[in-house]
Symmetry: C6
Amino acid sequence: MEQKEIWLESLIVKTPQEGFELAIKLSRMGVKYTQPDIEVLKKLRTDYANNASSLTAASHVVALNFQTVSKANNYWK
Amino acid sequence: MEQKEIWLESLIVKTPQEGFELAIKLSRMGVKYTQPDIEVLKKLRTDYANNASSLTAASHVVALNFQTVSKANNYWK
Amino acid sequence: MEQKEIWLESLIVKTPQEGFELAIKLSRMGVKYTQPDIEVLKKLRTDYANNASSLTAASHVVALNFQTVSKANNYWK
Amino acid sequence: MEQKEIWLESLIVKTPQEGFELAIKLSRMGVKYTQPDIEVLKKLRTDYANNASSLTAASHVVALNFQTVSKANNYWK
Amino acid sequence: MEQKEIWLESLIVKTPQEGFELAIKLSRMGVKYTQPDIEVLKKLRTDYANNASSLTAASHVVALNFQTVSKANNYWK
Amino acid sequence: MEQKEIWLESLIVKTPQEGFELAIKLSRMGVKYTQPDIEVLKKLRTDYANNASSLTAASHVVALNFQTVSKANNYWK
C-alpha cells in the first residue's frame, strides 16, 4: 500500500485553484493505489472520458477531496 | 492537471445564490479537468440532460460543492 | 450558469422542517440548472418517482443539502 | 414542496439510538417528498427490501442523516 | 421504525478500531431497519459478499459512519 | 464483527501521504469485514482493478476516509 515516492508533501496550497488541482491529484492517486499499471489506466481512460456518468463520478470524488483541501487551507480566507 | 487560465479566484461570494452557482461551476470544472474537449462534452450533454439518474447525480455533486462554498462563507450569516 | 430570478435569499429558516424543505428545494435546483426545460423535467419525473433507486438517490441529495442547512442554522438549538 | 403536517419538530433527541431512528425517518421523508403516494411506495418497497444494493443505498442515506443528527446532539456527550 | 431492543447505548468507544467496528454495526443496522427479516438478509449476503461493487458500497457506508464515530470520540486524541 | 488482531492503533500519522495510505487501509478494511475470505477478494480484484467505475468508486471511499484522517491530524498544519 505504500509508495516509495513522495507525492504528497502538504495539503497547504496558495490559491483555491491550486487547491482544486490538488483535489484532482488526490482523486487520481486514489485510483492509482488500486491500479498502479499506467498502461491499464490509459486504456480505461478512453472509455471513461467519453461517458457522462463516469465524468460525473470523477467530479464527485474531486468535490470530496476539495472539501478536505479547502478546510485544510481555511478556505483561503 | 494544471490549467493556465485562472478560473477560481476565491470561494467567497456575496449571496447564497451566487454560492450555489459557484458550486455548479466547481462541479463542471471537475468534469472538464477529466475531459477538456468541449465538443465531446457538448455531445454527452444531450443524453445527460435527458436522463433522470444523471440529473440527480449532477445535483449530488453540486450539493457537495455547495457544502464547501457555504462553509467558506460562514453560511452568509 | 446564472439565473436572473432570485430563488435563494438565505439559508436561515425558522424550523428544522422548513430547513428540510429548503434542502429539497436546493436538490431540485441542482437538477434545474442542468436541465432548465420544465417540460423535459415533468416527463422524466413520471419514471423517476416510480423507481426505488431514483427515490433513494433523491433522498441522498436531500440529506447532503440538509447537512448544509442544518449547520447554517446551528441545528435550531 | 411544503407539507401541512408538522413531522419534524426538533433534531434534538435523548439517546444515540433515538438519533439513529430520527435519521431513518429523515431518509424516508426525503423519499416521501418526491413520491407522496403511499400505495406506490408500498409497492416499490417489496422489491426494494429484497435487493442488496437498494438496502446498502438506504443505509447510506441513513448514515448521512445520522451525521447531521449526531452533530446536532453533540454526539450525546 | 423503532426497535424495542437497545442496540446503541453510546457513540463513545475506547479505541479507533472499536470505533471502526461500531461504524460497521451502524451500517448494518441501517440495512436491518429496512429489512428486518434475518433470513432474507442471509440469502442476500451470499451474492453481496461476492460482488466487488457491493463490497465497495458497503465500505462506503462504513466510511461515513466512521466519520461520525471518530468525530464523537475526538479522533481518540 | 470484531477482529482479534489489532490493525488500527491510531488515526494519527506523521505526514499527509501516510494519512492517505491509512485512508486506503481503512477503505480496504471496510471491505474485509464484509468479506473476510482472502481468496474471494483476490479473485474479485482482477475484474475490479480493470474497471473504470470500480476504480472511481474505490477512490471515492478513500476520499471519505482521507477526510477523517486529515481532520484527526488537524491537516498536518
